[in-house]
Symmetry: C2
Subunit: 182 residues, 2 copies
């Protein structure tokens, strides 16, 4: 065997379980069964459950990064604007991304070691490229507004319908481009 996709198959299974049944049902046995790999094989690839969760977070962060790149390419003609890129990326996230993010973030709330993997890249971006600007309050408000909406969606707290969400993102993007009216 030795198929190189075993790890990915395991991660796929783990994601599916979280999305379908919630992180509470994410057990090693369940992942093994779902990925049609024995528990021993699972442990071979991911020695501990924490290692598995770390890999799940890693893949999610990669996906975010891909979406950011995609957004950056789309916005290429415009002057470089990381705040704009970040808002577009958040807008692009799918419902599956929401649920997965929420579940994994929830897990990290009780496992501080994992939180590091979650936030490290994010922090650097957040801080250096977006926050350290002349108009700090303006950038911060726009970024936090997008993030706040994202969190609402993540935890199913938002009551916005698609139209309202669209309007809100439009307003945020306009302001991130330098628009003045709020």
């Amino acid at each position: 065997m030795g198929r190189p996709s075993s790890k990915n198959a395991i991660l796929d299974a783990a994601e599916a379980i979280v999305l379908e049944s919630g992180a509470a049902h994410l057990t090693l046995d369940a992942v093994a069964e779902r990925s049609t790999i024995s528990k021993g094989g699972l442990i071979y690839h991911f020695p501990t459950k924490e290692a598995l969760l770390e890999a799940m977070i890693g893949r999610l962060m990669e996906r975010h990064e891909q979406l950011r790149d995609q957004a950056r390419r789309e916005l290429a003609p415009e002057p470089s604007n990381e705040l704009l890129v970040e808002i577009r990326m958040l807008q692009k996230l799918s419902e599956a991304d929401y649920h997965l993010s929420a579940s994994l973030l929830a897990v990290t709330a009780n496992q501080p070691e994992l939180a590091k993997a979650f936030h490290e890249k994010y922090r650097r971006r957040f801080h250096d490229e977006i926050m350290n600007q002349e108009r700090f309050e303006r950038s911060a408000i726009l970024l936090f507004a997008a993030v706040g909406l994202h969190f609402h969606d993540m935890f199913n707290m938002s009551l916005l319908n698609d139209e309202q969400r669209g309007m809100l993102y439009a307003a945020l993007l306009r302001l991130a481009r330098g628009g003045d009216a709020l």
Copy 2:
């Protein structure tokens, strides 16, 4: 005994455990021991763990409501402005509130039944009193910005120092009062 504070003593113990050790260590046995109440007594008051969590969420929401009332009183001379109240309330939350909110929210992420208790009141306020206004985008951006910052603090994602946080809240409050410059 029959002291009326038994329930509160139990909830105090449960909160302390979550704050000190994380929700992962919130077991019925631990709560009983910490509150110097027997496990039987604990089960007498909270027949299931879910009932206990629900009560914890209820108390947290009550505390938020109290802080809102407090903020409303402080702002009384000004024209009624629920958006302003909400932002001030979020600013008032302590670190203990952060951690408790984060932990309980994390728990609800995997127990949808609990999420209802968490969001019901919040949703009504959010929707009816703040979002249904003429300048929808403006209100939404300010509210989501405050909430986004709050979430960052909850999950230890924010890199803002106290000065920056103060500046940001000042800007949000100014805008919520009708200020124009962003």
